[in-house]
Amino acid sequence: MRLRTGFAVFGMVIVAVVVQTTLINQLQFVTPDLVMLVVILLSLTRVRPEAVLGVAFVSGLLLDLLGSSLLGLRAIVFTVVAYAAIRTRERAEIGRVGVALWVGFLTFGGIVVLALVGTLFGQETLLGSDVVSHMFLVPIANTILAAATAGLFVRLVDRDATALRFT
């Protein structure tokens, strides 16, 4: 990952974390997981896969450090999601809808893994009181956001105006 790309990715992660922890988590209905979205979309860029995993780990760690859950829980989950994204990214390249659905499925998987890992480490209340709606509303919100922003995100990170353009 080049220095400039590194700064761009770092900036996006910080913005995602700040917006997530101030605006998004205060809303009850429209609740995307911006940090997870950034991690997933990063796997569509030309950033090296190991770096994507590293960014995913650090992003999760940052959220763990800001919250009250055990340190490392989200780091593990985001890393697993990033790995799944890297392994399946070829399937997302069929079009805008394909990318959006792929992001939605990965987000859903991430939330399920978070619930499982949280339960494993005695953090059953990690997802709050509305687990079921959270499990479906977050992937739907991420799906919509991905459809709107995936191309722009990839072009910004790769600094390539032709990247991820679907006809």
Partner: protein, 302 residues
């Protein structure tokens, strides 16, 4: 199609990061959030909190507007109900003011001094929610906030307690997500209130129960609680319950609503530094609690 670098090192990287993650979790569990992990948390929150304060200043009105639009019908009904409650509260306030005046006069006549039992209170804004189960407030150690202090909403209902403190911010863990139970009293029966998974209702367990409990009964913090002062309103019983052998279990709906919290009140409790020193928390927090009591009390006095 996209062209990217391919690599065979993703699996070893994944395994390494997972191992590091599990080690961190284990380390956090072993140190109970203290030590190096505590320093890391405090450091990160110190860096991010100013950004959150700025962002919160900008986005809170937006969040409020979106939320209000979604709940406009409910808000109208709530508004009417609140107007009625306000009128009743004003009437009660006048009665209390009258009694206070009489009390003051009687104290003056009999030359009595106030017991000074009031706790210091610090009002704080909610500036962030790092996850679904914790809140970040804009007051920290420099405002007298210390780890473990009780947190109430603006109606005086119990919200939770302070989890982590930095100089300018603090993280609150609500009781519906806390790992420890809250010692409460219903009537004259003392029990433990525990959080439940996937609901904001809590489970009340009363050991050595001798009488049934009815829906609607008020649940308050008990004098047996090490984390909260006695007599704070917590919630109300949802379902009638009778003791089985000598154990009673039922559900409680907390009064405080986390989704609409914008302001909280942090109590400087325990007020006695010696009590704080003998508490379950780490010894270094004793100093902070001492500062808290002094600062907040003097603010109130002023």
């Amino acid at each position: 199609m996209l062209t990217r670098e391919t690599s065979d090192r993703t699996l070893p990287t994944l395994i390494t990061l997972l191992v590091v993650g599990i080690l961190l979790v284990t380390f956090d569990v072993r140190t109970s959030g203290g030590g190096m992990v505590g320093v890391l948390r405090t450091g990160t929150q110190t860096i991010v909190a100013p950004m959150q304060k700025v962002a919160s200043y900008v986005v809170n009105p937006v969040a409020d507007m979106v939320q209000s639009l979604a709940e406009v019908a409910i808000l109208r009904q709530e508004n009417l109900k609140l107007r009625e409650e306000l009128a009743e509260a004003l009437a009660e306030l006048i009665a209390v003011q009258d009694e206070q005046a009489r009390l003051g006069l009687l104290e003056q006549i009999y030359e009595l001094e106030s017991a000074g039992g009031d706790l210091g209170r610090t009002v704080a804004n909610v500036i962030g929610r790092p996850d679904r189960v914790s809140l970040i407030i804009d007051k920290g150690a420099s405002d007298g906030i210390a780890k473990g202090q009780p947190v109430l909403d603006t109606n005086g209902f119990v919200v939770g307690s302070v989890h982590t403190v930095t100089q300018g911010s603090a993280t609150i863990v609500p009781m519906i997500a806390g790992q420890d139970g809250v010692a409460v009293v219903v009537g004259e029966q003392v029990g433990i209130l525990m959080p439940q998974v996937a609901t904001d209702e809590m489970r009340l367990e009363i050991l050595d129960s001798r009488a049934p409990i009815l829906a609607g009964e008020r649940v308050e913090t008990s004098a047996a609680s090490v984390n909260f002062p006695a007599g704070l309103p917590v919630g109300q019983i949802l379902v009638d319950a009778a003791p089985t052998v000598d154990t009673l279990t039922t559900t409680v709906q907390p009064y405080s609503n986390l989704d609409t919290l914008r302001l909280v009140v942090v109590l400087a409790w325990p007020p006695d530094p010696i009590t704080a020193a003998t508490g379950a928390d780490a010894p270094e927090q004793t100093t902070t609690t001492t500062t808290t009591t002094t600062t907040t009390t003097s603010e109130d006095d002023g």
